[in-house]
Symmetry: C2
Subunit: 649 residues, 2 copies
């Protein structure tokens, strides 16, 4: 049947239709993401023709492995099958769904029905024995069962041995599967816990010296670590640490020409001291940087660095690889621009130049260089202005060697492009949270990110501020607003960050803009990190609550409560293992609120669902009974705009 077979193969994959796989991103084009140790539940519609009894399994393996693991699937209802598996290490995986006919179970079922109907089953029994004989080349254990049951039947003529459940199980294992149909291979990314959960502290190293006007060093940063660790942060993230260009250097407040002594933007990367794999000499040496990583680890923090794919006019690549950059008709090198804006302190490499292969490799090697120097978290600046397939390729290349490498996409752009970056491999993403202030838009945005399929690939990192963004709502400098914003970020999202100075309520803008005045992007700032009025204890309490409550270590488990106040957001989160449930209420306005929190979920105790009987204030430990399916709370934002409870049975 050669010709027929060929044509059939062209139009049809197999005897089964395997449809409506869940979860799936764009038909399997992009991976779903999970944290190691978490079960992955898979569902699909499976069917073939006829009345045969079928079976199905999930097969899965690491991308680079050859052997498959198998997990059984079971029929749920209406041809919908489900199963789950749990990879025990991080990395990239593929999985597929297999369906096949259980020929023996089908025979056994018909045989039983005929017996019950009192029909002559002599030939049927022989047919069953025939199936068993054909299957005896299966595994030794299965074969033993098969041989025994078959002999019992043949010796005595008693049909009962043919109906034994253990025979059905042995045959399920041993018989051939001629019509086995496999779905397309679907990708899966298993990350470590930090991909989903972490409190970030963005530190500008040049401003960490306690001596006014003096350039901060990694040693100064090491001295700051106890302060940051005491606030309970998990990740300390550095703005770029590389040499800074001199030519066309920017001056204070983003002025086009620098004055003598101006330190320039750390995003104008590259100087005579080197490029993306070098360290700005004023910050110290590679050894100092390594010491910083070690010191951070000692206080349970991990270091993230900033990767900005752009070169100052003094970057070594400008002279070593002039063909990586576009030229203008007069022979000069093209500056970065977004007309009519011009960025004359940087050149963007041309990802489609004739020598793109070596450019791509060089950029990948920069990441590998830092990964080999102990950095495993990379915050990528403006990824949305570089080719999507570059990121997909680069992240894959790096994660093959460093499956623990995490990438945060700093893209503030069109929603679908932001989601596209998350799909193609970024572990985490910046979000619009920074500007979402009304209850309806916060709830709508979180429901979007926690919905399907977004929750399968988009891991939000909620920054309350950044060196580029001092949102209007923070510009009055009121403590309750800073507290409310960090409380929202830290509890709605399992990953969030603050940019240093937030804890000091820094809020002086360039008038009319959402930008910091005298931004340390262009100058050194000296701060009193213990300045009166700071909210460090508040942030500490939040981060401690996050660490103590698994429910807060995930984002997509968020469910909003119906709270009858347009300025109070109420929510519940439950951990995947059901061991922890947190309810929270956060005020978005400065006035006192008294609201009813409908805490009418159930919690898991000893494997059983029970009504919530009481709640315990996460910060103070005070307990309150839950009656009539909820709790009345009073929120005075001047004292604390947020309140969080652990739910108890």
């Amino acid at each position: 049947m050669n010709k027929t077979t060929q044509i059939v193969e062209r139009v049809a994959a197999g005897a089964f239709h395997i449809e409506n796989i869940y979860p799936i991103i764009d038909g399997g084009r992009f991976p779903i993401k999970r944290i190691v140790g978490e079960p992955i539940e898979i569902f699909a519609d499976l069917y073939r023709d006829g009345h045969e009894i079928i079976a199905a399994a999930i097969v899965w393996r690491r991308e680079q492995d050859r052997d498959w693991n198998r997990a059984p699937m079971a029929l749920e209802v209406n041809d919908r099958w489900g199963g789950s598996f749990t990879p025990d290490s991080i990395g990239r995986y593929v999985y597929a769904i297999e369906a096949w006919t259980d020929e023996f179970a089908t025979w056994q079922h018909g045989f039983e029905l005929k017996l019950k109907a009192g029909q002559d089953v002599t030939l049927d029994a022989l047919e069953g024995a025939g199936l068993m004989t054909k299957a005896q080349s299966g595994g030794p254990e299965a074969s033993a069962v098969i041989v025994k049951q078959c002999e019992d039947f043949l010796k005595t003529g008693d049909t009962q041995p043919l109906l034994a459940p253990e025979l059905r199980a042995a045959m399920a294992e041993a018989q051939s599967r001629p019509d086995l149909t496999r779905s397309a291979l679907l990708p899966l990314m298993i990350d470590r816990e930090r991909a989903r959960n972490g409190a970030w502290y963005e530190m500008v190293p040049r401003s960490q010296s306690p001596v006014p006007g003096q350039h901060g060093t990694f040693r100064d940063c090491i001295a700051r670590l106890p302060d940051v660790a005491a606030m309970g942060f998990d990740v300390v993230y550095f703005t770029p640490i590389h040499p800074i260009g001199v030519k066309n250097r920017k001056g204070k407040n983003n002025s086009l020409s620098a004055q003598p002594g101006d330190v320039g933007s750390p995003y104008a990367i590259g100087g005579k001291e080197g490029g993306h794999d070098a360290i700005h000499p004023e910050l110290g040496t590679m050894e100092d940087f390594q010491a910083f990583i070690t010191a951070a680890k000692a206080v349970d923090m991990e270091v993230a660095i900033d990767v900005a794919v752009q070169c100052s006019p003094d970057h070594p690549w400008i002279t070593e690889h002039p063909d990586w950059f576009k030229r203008r008709p007069d022979g000069t090198m093209k500056y970065a621009e977004n007309p009519p804006k011009r960025y004359e302190d940087i050149h963007n490499p041309d990802f489609t130049c004739d020598d793109a292969g070596s450019l791509w490799n060089a950029l990948r090697d920069v990441i590998l260089f830092w990964a080999e120097h102990g950095v495993k978290i990379f915050r990528i600046d403006n990824p949305h202005t570089k080719p999507l397939r570059f990121w997909e390729w680069m992240i894959h290349e790096v994660q093959v060697k460093h499956p623990d490498a995490l990438f945060l996409a700093e893209a503030f752009t069109k929603p679908k492009l932001m989601k596209g970056l998350a799909k193609l491999g970024f572990s985490q993403s910046y979000t619009y949270f920074t500007w979402r202030t009304e209850k309806w838009e916060i709830e709508q945005y979180l429901n979007e990110l926690c919905g399907y399929p977004e929750r399968e690939f988009y891991r939000p990192n909620f920054f309350v501020n950044t060196p580029d963004i001092l949102p209007f709502h923070l510009q009055s400098g009121e403590a309750w607003m800073f507290k409310a914003r960090v409380a929202l970020a830290a509890t709605l999202s399992s990953t969030y960050g603050i940019y240093n100075g937030f804890e000091l309520l820094e809020h002086e803008p360039i008038p009319g803009k959402e930008e910091y005045l005298n931004s340390e992007k262009y100058e050194i700032r000296t701060r009193n990190w213990d300045q009166p009025g700071n909210i460090k204890p508040y942030i500490h309490d939040l981060n401690l609550a996050r660490r103590a409550n698994k429910a807060l270590q995930q984002t997509s488990n968020l469910r909003f409560m119906a709270v009858d106040d347009v300025n109070v957001i109420g929510f519940v989160k439950e951990s995947v293992d059901h061991s922890n449930m947190v309810a929270g209420a956060i005020s978005l306005s400065r006035d006192v609120h008294e609201v009813w929190l409908p805490i009418n979920s159930q919690v898991m105790v000893d494997g059983e669902r029970r009504d919530i009987a009481a709640v315990e204030n996460i910060i103070t430990g005070e307990r309150y009974p839950v009656e009539w399916g909820g709790l009345r709370v009073r929120i005075d934002p001047m004292r604390d705009p947020a309140i969080f409870f652990r739910c108890l049975a």
Copy 2:
């Protein structure tokens, strides 16, 4: 960049992400279906990195052609693009979405912004001219525009020629598209009108003789045609017309052994006179059958035949191809069975036998044989018990030669399997309508079939009865119920059918079963086709209304009205071209109803939407004004359980 490129190709398809294509069936695995002449609207999310201006098109061609047609796409909103195309002939097509960067438009946009900002644009102008020079190998018309504008600029230094819209259009055509990204090829099936719209009359030819007890012939059937045509049917469908086996022939009322003179089941196909490509001698000759086709055509009807893939013990294949059938341990051939039920008058061929290639080809050749004898509609018996990929292959093979061939799947089985058959290529499908009697379940079922994606591939054919099914609700034989059922079938679905005898209110069951007593599946019946009390005039009116109203020639345009009576179904349908809108109300109970029909849609007049001002009874022509957004109607099922209006501005 060879190595890099290779790796990139492995992980990424192109510079663009092309996502969320609509409509699409299972990621493009199965075709969407349309009727020839209908525009096909396609939408997709398209994006790339950066701020470049992009463009997109739908490319499409017949499956067997090489050259592509192109249709432009336009940005709708939020990176969603849309476009449409209209194939002008039936057959199988493929299409894809292409996206690329409009390099010149991007340049022109930036150039304009810089001009407005008063920046020096000398170099930019030269860059634009450079793009134009590069593009001058485009088509002659585009080139002429490009050369002229470029010269105008270069001669005078005036930048206006560079901003001309005609230049942008010429460059859009002429410039290269280095980052063009194409989606996967998606399949499309374009059928003739009859695939979606038709009234079917199922005729059992053995019972068409006017002489009691005498076997009907094709000549008798020809004599019946004026009667059927007068009722307004479009398709006359014959139960199997092939020789019937003698061995194990079934007797009257499905008894296991035939008595002398019993005619047997026409589904026990094959005798000494031949198999699936032969004609039962008692019906006549191939010439008689051809005469029947010709006579049907003369009264605007098309002939459909029944294809049942099963063989009586006397079928020539049993002896010519014994290897196509399974044997039992005692060497006998296996009968069809569904334990504990046995069908000893038929054998099912084994689609996976060693010689399956020739079996598959033979079955395909049966269809091709009849197609070449003028039959283009095939009602397939029990397709759900034969391999899915056989049907997918066979239907494709036949439609390559006969793109006008239509296949109706007679599958009453699990919902997903029924939908799977529709996806893989069946043009139409049987449905559960036959048993849906309550308003809620009729509305729910229709909403399922008219929803997305079902409406893209599932074309229902609503049979009110079949030789196998005399539903309980017809067994009391009340005329209003027969009228209500045929009115529901004929107007909710654009394709529907009755099995002969329905028009005579035949209703005598095997007690306690939904089956006909003395079924003509096993004996000859003689009827008075003009028997008093018949509802032929009622059916005539319905079919006339269907022909006169385009809105009734489609199913998925159905919208139910909120009618405040649990036993009245109200609906509106509008034709694709907006030229016709029909509102209807059908009673499901025998009592008189007075209900409010909220006919508050708008109709299209001279390209403008206008409120419905009046309705016209489709049957009587009476007009009523529409006031307060609706109409009060009185339905007396004893006179007519249904009322239909044409909506007028």
